[in-house]
Every structure is written in C-alpha cells, then in structure tokens.
C-alpha cells in the first residue's frame, strides 16, 4: 500500500514542463515542413524560447481555440477559420496577415493502374474510393468547391472517404486505402508511394490563402508578434517557396 502511494507520488513529479518562454503555434498541418524550419530558426534567434506546433485542420484548431485552447499564434489555411475566431474577439486587431498561397492536386495510389489525367477520370470504376478532408476542413472545402465547379461533386459523393486533414488524406492514399485523393500541391512532397496524378489548371483552382494572426489569449505577447513578423522574412519566404507554396496573392504578378 505504502509502495503504491510512493510510486504514484514519484510519477506525479515527472515531466514538469521546462522553464523559459514557450510559444504555442496552432497551424494548418499542410504548413508542417516549412513551419518546422521557421520555428527552428526562431528558436535559434531567441535563445531560451521554445516553439511548440499544434498541427491539425484549421477548422478543428479554430474550434479548440474558441473552446479556450491557449494558442499564441494561429496559422490557418482559409479565411473562415480565422473569421470564426475574430467574431469572438479572439484575434488581436491589426495582426492578421496573408503569408502564402497554395493549389490543389489530385493524387493517385501506386496500385491504381489506370491513368488519371483530368477531373472526369475520377469517374472511372477503378477509382473506388476518393479520399478528401471533411467539408469543414479548408482543404476539404476547397476540394468540393473544385469538384462542384467541374460538375462532379454529386456523382463522386458516394466514393468519398472523408479524413481529418490533408495529411490524413495523403496517408490514406499512400497506404493504398483509397485509390485517389485531393490534397494541396505542397503535401505531395511528403508522399511515400502516392503520386501526383494531375494539377487542375489555374483557371479552375480555388483561391487558397494562408493567414496568420496573433490571438488575444497570447501570453508571450512580444514573442508572438515577432514570430508573426518572421513569417514574412526572406528566409521564411525561401522555406515556403522551397516547399512549393505560392507567394501571397497580393505579391503575385497579375
């Protein structure tokens, strides 16, 4: 009995969080690789600071923030996720900025033998399951918007397997559990066996923008501000570009 109490007390003292300033960044999971590089550089420039990334679907992270999750900075793959936060007064005024863009691609599993070269090919009987994120998730919303534009949304509906976010869609196609999927162009760099089947032409692409903002719940206020600023510095731009992200729409040549 006494042993039990002592053991519990010992275990309870484990993993007391380390000291120093910590920045909790909620971010669309599609930003993962460049964001890890950006966060790493930020930690080097601000010794003693630790940047923790909470990666997920922007919509899910937004719901968590509204329920009280203590995020300092929020990086979303659509405007709606941030609007929902702003509506509740959770976004620090004037901190909102657009820092990147993206485009959709259709991916196919290694096992799929028939070529998929345009939207209509998704109707082939060999494409039994099409993975895409839930409707509330930005990439799921964008994918449906594109399919609706192509007049395929209803016909393909029964083949949808919905996932939690873009990377989960990629994982489903990588594992061969779905024959095709719709993800961001940038996600495909993390693919293991899935391949890019085709990229819808620019004229069909939904407008995909990444926004960043500081939340009013931010504890490390100044730090959160400089992290936001670091998203637009030349090194961050290079990281984002290398990962395949488009420059923010304002910067694009007409």
């Amino acid at each position: 009995m006494r042993t039990l109490v002592v053991a519990l007390a010992l275990a309870a003292t484990l993993a007391e969080p380390a000291g120093g300033e910590e920045l909790l960044v909620a971010a669309a999971v599609s930003l993962r690789e460049p964001l890890e590089a950006i966060a790493h550089r930020f930690e080097e420039r601000h010794p003693g600071t630790r940047v923790q990334l909470a990666l997920g679907a922007s919509s899910a992270l937004s719901a968590q923030a509204r329920a009280g999750a203590p995020f300092d900075v929020f990086l979303a793959a659509d405007e709606e996720s941030l609007d929902a936060l702003a509506a509740e007064g959770l976004v620090r005024e004037g901190s909102r900025l657009v820092f990147a863009g993206n485009r959709l691609v259709v991916i196919a599993s290694a096992e799929l033998r028939v070529p998929i070269e345009r939207a209509a090919d998704l109707e082939r009987p060999e494409v039994r399951r099409i993975a895409l994120a839930e409707r509330a998730v930005p990439v799921g919303h964008y994918a449906r918007e594109w399919l609706a534009r192509k007049g395929l949304l209803e016909a393909l509906g029964p083949r949808f397997v919905t996932t939690e976010h873009a990377r989960a869609t990629l994982a489903a196609v990588d594992a061969g559990n779905a024959e095709a999927g719709i993800v961001y162009a940038t996600d495909t760099k993390a693919a293991r066996s899935a391949r890019v089947a085709f990229t819808p032409p620019d004229a069909e692409q939904p407008r995909i923008v990444y926004l960043a903002a500081q939340l009013t719940s931010a504890r490390a206020d100044a730090l959160a501000g400089s992290f936001l600023a670091s998203l637009s510095d030349p090194a961050a731009r290079r990281d984002l570009e290398a990962a395949g992200f488009l420059p923010p729409p304002g910067d694009r040549a007409p």
Partner: protein, 224 residues
C-alpha cells in the same frame, strides 16, 4: 521523432496517470467500502451510475466534462472567478483519466472489501480500537490486494485514455500530448514510425503494470 520528444510524452502520460490514480484512491476506497458493507434503497442504481464512465463512449464522457470544466459551461463563471483554467491543460487530461478510471478502482475495492469477513473488524473494536483504526489496521490490510489491483487497473486505463482526453485536453505537443493522443496524431500525419515507437512504449508500460498487478495477486500481496 526525437528521444527527447518520446521522453516528454512518456513522462507526461505517467504524470497524468499517477495524478489521476492518486486523486481517486481515497474516494474509490470509500465508495468500495460503502457498496460492500451497506445495503440501501437504490443501491443497484448507484452501482450502475458508478460504472457508467466505464461503459459510456469515452467521447461522451469528454463532452460532459467539457461542459463542466469549460469556460462556457454552467460552471464557467466559477472557474473564471477562481482564475482556474482547466480545459486544454494536463489537468483536464488527469481529470478525464480519473473519471474513466474511478469505476475500475471502486469496483475492485468493493469486491476486495466484500471478501473480508466483517467479524475481524468487530473483534478489533471489542478490543478497544476506534472504528477508523480498526479499518486501517484490520480490514484495509486484508483487502489491500484487491485495492492495489484496482489502483493499477485504473492507472493503466488512465494511461490509455483517448476519447475524453482529446476533447477536454486537445492534442497540444508538450502540454497535453499523451501516448494515446500522440499515436493518433501521428497516424493521421502518416508518421507510422513515430506512432510505432509510442505504441511500443505504451505496450511496455501496460505490460509491466499488469505484470506487477498479477504477481502481486499471486504472491498474496503485501504482508504489512
């Protein structure tokens, strides 16, 4: 996934499990004793309600906790007045773990106390021990095997808690990411290797804890 990350997730998980188990130890023993010793009207209902967190979908337990602990729930004003933030902290994970672990402990205690002949305690009373001392010196030691078994079960269940925890604590790396949450997040990211390592650690802890529980039962428990 780095060794530091693994250690952090494992440490946090053990802490959550330990705090949860420690918190329910006294109420669990008391509830078990009450159920074993007393018969009262509606006892079956009480037993059923106590078992609920064990059989409800964990995510339903999570939603109930979110309402109770959240800023917007009926107790929200109380939490803000006290300056307590629970949701999305490791405390929320510990509370969720405690709630789902409680029935396991209380049930085990009930059975353990039911197996102890109350005659021993009565005898101790006639020899001049106070009710509390008689319980602590006679009944509790006799029931300790079952109590410890229940505590280990609750602890192990706490380590694996997922559904309720994901809702009330989120999956915040370094803050609330336990082994179970970490496995889920990594599978979603297609990071099978990281998920595998976390699984391996969960497996090792669960096996060790159940081995201890079983050998304890076999050996006849502590003689103290």
């Amino acid at each position: 996934m780095s060794a530091a990350e693994l250690a952090e997730i494992t440490g946090l998980t053990l802490r959550v499990g330990a705090v949860a188990t420690a918190a329910i130890l006294l109420p669990g023993v008391a509830t078990g004793l009450l159920l074993a010793r007393r018969s009262f009207r509606g006892k079956a209902l009480v037993q059923a309600v106590i078992a609920l967190p064990m059989v409800l979908p964990p995510v339903a337990v999570g939603l109930a906790l979110l309402l109770l602990l959240g800023r917007r729930g009926p107790l929200g004003p109380l939490w803000s007045a006290l300056g307590i933030e629970l949701v999305f902290t490791w405390w929320a994970a510990a509370i969720a773990a405690a709630v789902v672990g409680f029935p396991l402990l209380a049930r085990a205690c009930e059975q353990a106390f039911a197996a102890v002949d109350p005659g021993y305690e009565r005898l101790a009373r006639t020899l001049g021990l106070s009710p509390l001392r008689a319980f602590l010196r006679v009944t509790l030691p006799l029931a300790s095997r079952g109590v410890i078994y229940g505590a280990l079960l609750a602890f192990t269940r706490a380590l694996g808690e997922f559904g309720a925890t994901a809702l009330v604590a989120g999956i915040l790396p370094g803050r609330t990411e336990t082994l179970a949450l970490g496995i889920y997040a990594r599978v979603q990211l297609g990071e099978d290797r990281g998920a595998f390592w976390l699984c391996a650690i969960s497996f090792a802890i669960a096996l060790a804890s159940m081995l201890i529980a079983e050998t304890w039962l076999r050996s006849g428990g502590s003689r103290r």
